[in-house]
Symmetry: D4
Subunit: 174 residues, 8 copies
Amino acid sequence: MENKIPSVLIVMGSTSDLSVMEKAAEFLNEMKIPFEIHVLSAHRTPDEAANLSRNAAQRGAKIIIAGAGGAAHLPGVLAAFTTLPVIGVPVKSSNSIDGWDSILSILQMPSGIPVATMALDGAKNAAIFATQILATSDKELQKKLIEFKNSSAKKVLEAANEIAKINKFQYKIN
Amino acid sequence: MENKIPSVLIVMGSTSDLSVMEKAAEFLNEMKIPFEIHVLSAHRTPDEAANLSRNAAQRGAKIIIAGAGGAAHLPGVLAAFTTLPVIGVPVKSSNSIDGWDSILSILQMPSGIPVATMALDGAKNAAIFATQILATSDKELQKKLIEFKNSSAKKVLEAANEIAKINKFQYKIN
Amino acid sequence: MENKIPSVLIVMGSTSDLSVMEKAAEFLNEMKIPFEIHVLSAHRTPDEAANLSRNAAQRGAKIIIAGAGGAAHLPGVLAAFTTLPVIGVPVKSSNSIDGWDSILSILQMPSGIPVATMALDGAKNAAIFATQILATSDKELQKKLIEFKNSSAKKVLEAANEIAKINKFQYKIN
Amino acid sequence: MENKIPSVLIVMGSTSDLSVMEKAAEFLNEMKIPFEIHVLSAHRTPDEAANLSRNAAQRGAKIIIAGAGGAAHLPGVLAAFTTLPVIGVPVKSSNSIDGWDSILSILQMPSGIPVATMALDGAKNAAIFATQILATSDKELQKKLIEFKNSSAKKVLEAANEIAKINKFQYKIN
Amino acid sequence: MENKIPSVLIVMGSTSDLSVMEKAAEFLNEMKIPFEIHVLSAHRTPDEAANLSRNAAQRGAKIIIAGAGGAAHLPGVLAAFTTLPVIGVPVKSSNSIDGWDSILSILQMPSGIPVATMALDGAKNAAIFATQILATSDKELQKKLIEFKNSSAKKVLEAANEIAKINKFQYKIN
Amino acid sequence: MENKIPSVLIVMGSTSDLSVMEKAAEFLNEMKIPFEIHVLSAHRTPDEAANLSRNAAQRGAKIIIAGAGGAAHLPGVLAAFTTLPVIGVPVKSSNSIDGWDSILSILQMPSGIPVATMALDGAKNAAIFATQILATSDKELQKKLIEFKNSSAKKVLEAANEIAKINKFQYKIN
Amino acid sequence: MENKIPSVLIVMGSTSDLSVMEKAAEFLNEMKIPFEIHVLSAHRTPDEAANLSRNAAQRGAKIIIAGAGGAAHLPGVLAAFTTLPVIGVPVKSSNSIDGWDSILSILQMPSGIPVATMALDGAKNAAIFATQILATSDKELQKKLIEFKNSSAKKVLEAANEIAKINKFQYKIN
Amino acid sequence: MENKIPSVLIVMGSTSDLSVMEKAAEFLNEMKIPFEIHVLSAHRTPDEAANLSRNAAQRGAKIIIAGAGGAAHLPGVLAAFTTLPVIGVPVKSSNSIDGWDSILSILQMPSGIPVATMALDGAKNAAIFATQILATSDKELQKKLIEFKNSSAKKVLEAANEIAKINKFQYKIN
């Protein structure tokens, strides 16, 4: 299994980001998209981070998802070494200022080196977006995404029905 | 020419966003990626916006780039009607609060409906990112992106050389 | 009871918003204003949300109250499909950035499509404001609002008296 | 004409707010809704401001629109003296901090005293919203609002067509 | 005792502000400055608030301290009805946005009607500042303030000494 | 004249603050309150700043008004050396971040050392507040302040009348 | 030991900052760099703070690390009295506004008086930076820093390996 | 001259930062400290940036000053490859959000990799701080810094005198 070519590399700056970033792994797993998880810091292990990104395309990877908190340079640094799409997840870590630092460090990339920024702690959305990218050339994944979309609509409507029932009792007018 | 299948739909909420969003068109044009430009408001023409997005995949489009300012709902609203990747460009329009409203309205999408957010006014990066997505299944585009990356590195190094020359004269000791 | 024409539609983007939004229901109930509660997401169930709003006036509804968190598009999206007054409640949900995203996504609507924005988590005020709207053509409701206003003034003055009494003991000179 | 009962009172804290607030007057005028314009400061003429609001309902007014900048207390102060709906317009005046002070001073009203807050400098939307309120009991106004909504959709679509035409020429692929 | 002329009126918008505002009362008590505590809302009891301020000077009061949270209009509204110095305390109440709304609503008063703003929850400093005002014409209070200043310096230096002792043990070299 | 005892010391951190701070001087001049203007930096001339403050009371000064931009330490540093009331004016200088740095550096003083913070660039209000302080023990100044308050109310009402006249013409209904 | 010349002075505004600032002491201790800890307030003990800084160079100190919260003037005030490098640590104390006040008060120093600002609560980084300064003229410290850097890289890589192992089990396809 | 060993490397992400960063060069020139200027982007020329930093110490450099705007990763990326002190200058470039992105991207570095952050556009202070670092082991530079400090104090005092003179005329009583 471990020599299967990973389509997506999930990279995070610190093990403390794992509880957020594993949401991405779970969704990819559900979609049966092969992936790898890496813990590599843009600042503490810059060479390893650079190498992972530099070699990603050659190894057959299609997309990089990178999450980090504080001065979150990881997604941008990975994007510097590849032309693969890089999806950034700002993490509201304990040392961040309510997440503003993580968001702005990932979002405000200069012209030429885009990073696709997700919502704060939006690791699941990063994986959905990665799936959407892969689905641009994979009919099977397109179907799965449509099913996923339909099922989440259904969940909202079911919840709406639950509320509607409660409403009948709560709503008292002579 | 106009019946060519567009790979990318560029949508903006108002004609006043055109000066920002045309940077996306220029890059796609340079990469010879077919695209269409649409002006559709999530609030003033919601049905047309919904229909554009709902039919995009069937028409053969692969990616939607959407730019808007203020309470920038357009990218999210388009993402609601498709499983194609949607790239959002927050526009610092005249009626926005320094761009914060545009950024947060696009970035903070709920779980299940990702929008890939670019930097404020980052329309060119949106087009580069769209190209990176298409390149995940197109070797030709991969090459073009690598050339583009190399040429922008070269431009920085040339600028560095210019500065270095100035430096020799500017830097006087004894 | 359930076929009574609702004057107010309370819509929220997620069941997690219910604990905030039920404050609106409670006040309307107290005022004996018929209402309905709906859970509909602008992003997960966009067609259902659009239809609810599109048909609201015809069904006899007068006002829509919509609450949402994060990139809170729901109030604006509902406003796109109706000319009924839409009152928006920014919800400080777990995935919002201290509420700033919810506030700006609701507040900064473009010219032509107003949403009346309440304070963060201000669902009760949304219901009071809805009542004020209905009272512009309903003498009975006007009286009720004046009574409500007087009674809340009275509560403040009673509290003031309690504090004044405490003051006598707390305030020791010589 | 001047003894006609005004349906809407437009109040602003300073004559410097007039260039923003006259957008409200223009729209009401277009809708043939009678209105008055008042310049009254919550801080410099508090008694006159209180009296205007206290007597508004008795004089037959239905709605108050109030705009102010900086520590924008005017809408809240007027709301304190009436049960009529008060619509607040935060004005980005020269002495405001990018409009944040105006927005927060108007938006964050305490429970019991709602102010319906519009976007920064959103005086036109305030007038549209006032019209929507009046239309809840006025079929004629409802029709006018639907016409207005349709015509603004049409304007967007016409602009879209213009862009589409340009697109044909701009978009060159061998 | 209660017919003693109060030098300072402490006013707060809600009993929930008492835990913050009583720090002001404690300091004034310590300085033996007569004061009164009032709970009066700028929005729920506007007439009572106006009257308290309007009559304050005539009753012999010299200074008003006013604390409020959210859209904190109370200090500004009181300042509108008097030429006594008004000291405002922004309160980080449960319904405020991290205190930013309270701060900006109090701080950004228009030209002509100053409110002296203290730090967030800075009720004790409000009382110290009130004492400094009274001390401009009261030698006795001047002395007390100097003693207070000296004693707080002393406390810091004593704490420094404690730390210095710890330091000796903590600081191990070779 | 120059040996007259100044009641108020106006201190600013840099000559570039003069255009803002001279509004304070103008008002004091109008009120015939003797004052001095000093340019002293908390960081570049710390000893001179400390000495000015330390000796202020002995020289007969009653109040210090201090304005500064950026990391605006001047008001707090002056307050450290005196028990006179210090009024701080945050200046939106060219090197400040929209004034937020100036505001927070002055506002958020620790317990024990209050600085009365005015609105951004609120130098005139600082002078009015200084006058209010002096008026707590000066009947003459009290009268002047009441006149000033009345005259600014009158100005607003006159402006209101001007607007009201315009209104008659602007407001056309059939 | 206590008469050893300290290379670094760690100063904090209040004993409540100790839990943050002792991270600096721990690192210096580990590096065997002699240091002193002082608790001195820029506002409560301004003379002692000034003297500490004024005499620091003469006593042989090379660097000052200063931490404070709220209107954090301490680092800037110390920098005013010395030409030694001053490193500032913004502390997110209980009375700060999410740390923004501490950051801006330390960061935005005027031209001429730099303070090297660290991340919020970044006391350990302050000590590392102080070590880097000392290492510019101390080969031994340079080696220690390189060892420290290598060991923190190693820790990240070990964590990466742990994650990689988990990955094998977590990652199930067919 | 050009083969002189540079003590300080000034690096900037783009030639557009030169107008800000040359203030650093000017001060170092004045202090006769040898320096080099480099234009290298963390994202466009990541290898060159890494190499510059990796080899800096070996080439004899003592300090790196790095300025960048937007998602300003350059200072942090350079710091990743060296144990030399790195001083970061957030630049308010045209594509930054009022400088907040630049500041937070530089300031909020993770534990282990400090960057000494200067004020927004504070390139001159970066050079002064670099000089202070070098002066910790260079008596000559210490003297120069003291002279510089004295001369900037003198400039403030001279300005104060100018103002004082103006004051005599401006300040008219009776």
